[in-house]
């Protein structure tokens, strides 16, 4: 007669898996104790935070015109960097995509480039470009561009790899060129994903561009750093609220576009 009793609920872990689990748990506990996080310090920090918040309100609107001007520069920096990054991400993604890349060497080289651009944070790129092209928005634009090649390149390549292979097979059977195949059968199918990635890149670029100013790469970040350095917290508050409004506005517009196009 066949065995009908239910199998054990849990599988007994092997020795290696169990050891790994213990090591990982130990590392997590050690990490908590290493970062100096304690209730005592957090409680002690509340009055300092309260004092700063008190000095932040009401926000100082005296420098609002200058802040809005810099906010516009920040947005333009994000927009231009993002557009350049997305344009360059597409050909690199094609070279990196399985089944579309013309040669394995090109595929691996493109994937390595995308990985490099993605793994190095945009702040580090900004530091490098500030040294290369000097202080100002140009360095910020280049940092955003490189970061977006890494971000969008990966998602563009994945979207193209996941596109339905049927239309591609139909066109390659009749002798269509690789370019024809990409623009006729792959890009149209990957387009919703391209749009979503591009809009998300823009949102990410706007948030990122604020920080880039802290290392001298132009935009509103420079103003924020100066305000904090001078303990000018009410001006800093105005800047933070302006940034908040910009990020929310970009996200809302992005949502509307996403809903319409996808």
């Amino acid at each position: 007669m066949a065995e009908t009793s239910a199998p054990a609920r849990w599988e007994r872990p092997n020795a290696l898996a169990f050891t790994m689990l213990v090591v990982v748990l130990a590392f997590i506990l050690w990490s908590f104790s290493s970062v100096g996080l304690s209730w005592e310090r957090m409680v002690r920090g509340i009055p300092a935070l309260g004092s700063m918040l008190e000095r932040m309100f009401p926000p100082d609107l005296e420098r609002l015109p200058r802040i809005l001007e810099q906010l516009l520069v920040t947005f333009q920096m994000a927009l231009v960097g993002c557009i350049l990054g997305l344009i360059l991400a597409f050909p690199i993604a094609v070279l990196a995509a399985e089944g579309l890349s013309p040669h394995p060497v090109l595929k691996h080289a493109s994937r390595a480039l995308i990985a490099l651009f993605r793994t190095v944070p945009d702040l580090v790129w900004a530091l490098l470009f500030v040294i290369a092209v000097g202080l100002g928005p140009a360095a910020g634009v280049m940092a955003i561009m490189v970061d977006k090649i890494g971000f969008a390149g990966r998602f563009f390549a994945e979207a193209m790899e996941e596109a339905d292979k049927g239309p591609q097979e139909a066109l390659s059977t009749i002798g269509a060129t690789r370019t024809g195949l990409i623009f006729s059968a792959v890009v149209p199918l990957a387009l919703p994903s391209f749009v979503a990635t591009s809009l998300f890149s823009l949102e990410k670029a706007v948030r990122g561009s604020v920080i880039l100013g802290l290392v001298g790469a132009g935009g509103i970040g420079v103003e924020l750093k100066v305000a904090f350095d001078l303990f000018d917290y009410d001006t800093a508050c105005t800047i933070i609220l302006a940034i908040f409004a910009l990020v929310i506005a970009v996200e809302q517009v992005s949502n509307v576009i996403r809903k319409r196009l996808i």
Binding site: G166, E169, L171, I174, T179, A185, P188
Partner: protein, 276 residues
């Protein structure tokens, strides 16, 4: 002319045109399995050759071997006096552009319009952005695509998105895209498989009429005996990797085909009496 009118035509048999496709001694093995052993058959312009056989007898492999989507191990494939197995990569590409393929699945780009999908067929003989989208295509190409759509009865759907069509309509658009290639030989791999009986019959009738009206050599695989009988001129049966049956569709009958599907493998009965 409708398919039925073709079938009822009382004309005596006219001299047949020379074959467009001639397959001789074709063999293909996948690992330990010998799929095609020694396949020999031909297809002529304006004629529909139905390829029948049980599942796994290598019908699809045979069609794919003709255009070298699968590389045959032995034998010859001659299409329009060109030996296909000897073609280099570039010549193979040029050769494939002259062969239309209709798949079981329509393989349309769902997000694009019907017209753009049909225009993609021109990529067999042209390249560049003008072939990617109907808005970029030259007037002559757009007109030709509309004529192809009219030939499959869907000219009024030109700007509709392909993914809004029914299965039968999608398969018709795939046929219009194939016509846009201006092929001389058409290979259709179970084009009626995913369609309901009515749509499947209409599609096979369309293919049959197009082959006759445009003088195309059509080789079609179908598992539906009634379609095979109604919409073909010749029937070629595959079993055990060889052609074991050749019939003129006008004298073939359903019982004969049923018997062919049901009999055990390794029986060879090449019906030479009907070998026109």
């Amino acid at each position: 002319m409708t398919a039925l009118a073709h079938r009822l035509s009382p004309e005596p048999e006219a001299p047949r045109a020379p074959p467009v496709l001639f397959v001789s001694g074709l063999a293909k093995r996948f690992g330990a399995r010998q799929i095609l052993r020694d396949v020999t058959f031909e297809a002529r312009p304006g004629e529909v050759t139905a390829l029948i056989g049980a599942n796994g007898t290598g019908k699809s492999t045979l069609l794919r071997s003709i255009v070298r989507l699968v590389e045959p191990d032995a034998g010859t494939v001659t299409v329009l006096d060109q030996e296909v197995r000897g073609l280099d990569r570039k010549a193979l590409k040029a050769f494939r552009s002259r062969v239309g393929f209709v798949f079981q699945k329509h393989n349309l780009v769902g997000r694009l319009s019907v017209l753009t999908n049909v225009i993609h067929g021109v990529q067999a003989r042209m390249s560049g952005p003008r072939t990617w989208h109907h808005a970029l295509a030259p007037a002559a190409i757009r007109d030709e695509a509309m004529a192809c759509l009219a030939a499959v009865g869907l000219a009024d759907r030109a700007l509709q998105r392909a993914d809004s069509l029914s299965g039968g309509q999608s398969q018709r658009v795939a046929i219009a895209r194939m016509l846009m290639q201006r092929p001389e030989l058409v290979l259709a791999d179970e084009p009626d498989a995913s369609l309901d009986p009515r749509a499947g019959r209409a599609l096979m009738e369309l293919l049959y009429s197009l082959a006759h009206d445009k003088g195309l050599a059509l080789v079609v695989i179908s598992h539906r005996i009634e379609h095979t009988l109604a919409f073909s001129d010749r029937i070629v049966g595959l079993a055990d990797g060889i052609v074991t049956l050749e019939l003129d569709s006008r004298v073939a009958h359903a019982e004969q085909l049923r018997a062919f599907f049901e009999r055990p493998p390794a029986e060879t009965d090449r019906d030479t009496a009907n070998h026109g």
